[in-house]
Amino acid sequence: MNTLQSLFVLLVVAYMGGFLMGGRGLRGRGLPSGSEWLVLGFVTGPAALGLVGGAEVEAFAPLALLATGWIALLVGLTFGVDGERRVGAGAIGLGVTVGLLSFAGVAGAAWLVLERIPSAGALFPDRSQRLTLAICLGASLADTSRHVARWAAERLEARGPVLDRVSGITRSDDVVPIAVLSALVSLDTSRDVPAFPLGGLVLGGLLGLALAALLGRTLRTATFWSLLFGFSLLSTGVATRIDLSVLATGFALGLLLAIASPLRARARELAGGVEGAIILPALFLAGSRTTTPSGPTLWILGAALLARIASGLVAAALVAAVDSRARRGGPWLALGFLSTGPLGIAVALSVDLRFPGPVGDLVLATSVAAAVVGEFIGPPALRRALRRAGEVAP
């Protein structure tokens, strides 16, 4: 398949994404985290059938970068907000804690394997590389997909405090991987660009404020799109050039826009309308970039997945301790936190683009594996938990 044909496929995927995720939520079609698009990308990619070749995958790297920035912008724009309702500070704090638990659990497990299993450690002999790998793995698996809560609300028509709690967590834990990656990328000077600690967040924040000021108080749709696309592209491009995290810049841009602009609700609505057309091609591209791990790397991958499950158990216990109503979900709630989705994949994609080679390959493969495993376990477990809590009709 040449570049043109690959572009055609990508546009078709975007087209499908627009239909499947257009309007209000998932409209009852597709898997909650969109893992089928990851698998499709992997199957057609160079690691499997090779219909999309390595050259095409590289040619679309700018699109992948752009998509990660846009996903982060959407996350920032809707951070701490559930529909029209604001998530309280306590819920945000709980979400961040859950995210930190997952990050620490996965990063710690990966570090242990690298230090204790010689064959795995031999693949990454440099200590700073090990640290980078552990941090990136932790970041890519720190987020619970917000789409799983949306899926429960829209497809299962679930309503109630347990779902609200899950939804609040999934809308708040995003900040953990983004902040971690922002710190990591901005402190890394291997690309001969000076370090700007947390520069991505600062740059994105300033651009977000400028965007809010330029949008003013009256929304003109044409100007809105020109400005939103313009700022998104500019932030992604500038962040790439001065070696800052694209995710952090996009997130801060969206967050500051949401905070500073009186047009935030309309901005969320308009930007959310193109969510599917961006996310599904990003998942497809991530799948096509994924390589098959083998040998000792499987130890690291397996440890990361197990740590993720263990972190889910701890998180569920924490949620139950903080909120007595969440106890009604029972032990299934822990497995409900296993769904990772577009943001986790965007983090991994971002790592793959920023740290190409063994680190990027393994982080992307692990993240894809976690998304697929999470898809099988997370949504059914959440359904059981919600049913047990009486928030879904039996």
């Binding site: 627009g18 000021a213 020109s226 313009g230 790439t240 050039r241 057309a277």
Partner: protein
Amino acid sequence: MSAPAAKGPITRLLELAALVGLFALMLGVDRITGTLPGAWQRTGRDLAAVGFFLLAGTLASSLLEVLRLPHLTGFLLAGIVAGPYVLHTVDHETVADLSIVNSLALSLIALAGGAELRLEAVRRGFRGLVAATLVQNGLALLVIPATFVLARDLVPFTRGMELPAVFAVALLWGVVAITRSPSAVMGILSQTRPAGRLTDFTVGFVMSSDVVVVVLLALVMTGVRPLLEPGATLSLAAFGELGHELLGSVAIGTTLGLLLVAYLRFVGRQVLLVLLLLGLVVVDAIAYLRFEWLLTFLTAGFVVQNFSRQGDKLLHAIEHTGEVVYVIFFATAGAHLDLPLLRTLWPAALLFFAVRAVTAVVGARLGARLAGDPPELRSWGWAGLVPQAGLALGIAAKMQGQFPAFGAQFGALAVAAVALNELVGPVLFKLSLDRTGESGRGSAAGG
């Protein structure tokens, strides 16, 4: 490109500050990264450049509203200032990378142009359109080559040429001069949303001029070849190919138009992505089959508008997509303008620009008188014919391949002349729409 709305001085100051801030950001990033190598730098440069063009073009066009200048001029100026010849915030390599937007923008422009051609309006102004086409092109093909021959001392590459050869080059220059700019016209229409006789006439003339130019180019190139290449003979084979190309393009365009009608009628969603698919993928497929894709899209738009009720839906979708695509397209075109070359060739470029404009004015008066057109066409019918852009440069590039002995210098002169037409033409066209009171009438009619 939304309709101009009243903005206060604080908003203007904010926009100016943001524009200055954008330039400062781009220059600052350049200073930090210097000439760092790597694909990631190139990717970053490309993405930042697209975003920058989009923002700087939008802000510059908004600021120029104070001077009643068209948005398009703002896009072009933003590109020129940021481009490789002034501040160099966007370099040559990046400008070349962004040319992928061209086919997308031009396909949208052709589709919109076809959809703006309403059969009823064409029928009503048919007499005037035919008269103008004959008079404008006939006059231009007489006056401009004659000027070229007389002013050949200003054109360095004609020195040492025999007079018949100069005459042949002058005729080729005449063909370049009769090209118009559908993109500039559609860009201005998108901003001003006009309606009326001048609008109908300009759209009809400019869109059909593409076909006229393609036919005339084949005729002139076949005719002058023996004058330029001593061993060459007159061959009519080119006309067979041309006929095949034109008819095939119309046939494919009709099919595409019918498919679009069916899509808009029965699905109607995600039109943006369908337009992207057409502009980024289908264009290349049509070009691969050696058909004229601009004509194909023009026909498709015409079919949708005149043989279904989906025309307005299509125009609406193109307008939304175009609002973003046009900014990038024209800003990139601005960055592409070779200013040092214009500095070298300005006497000749200025002369040809002035003669072409005067010919258009005289042609409009003559044509309108012959056809009995209303006074607004007699006074302003020429204004939309002044802008020039991609088609002229495309033909000049084709000449470089066909006539390598002088093609490069010929192309350089074309770039210089087109630069003037590209900058001044849109201003004149917008002025004509404002003066005839047609600006804004389209949106008012549409509710």
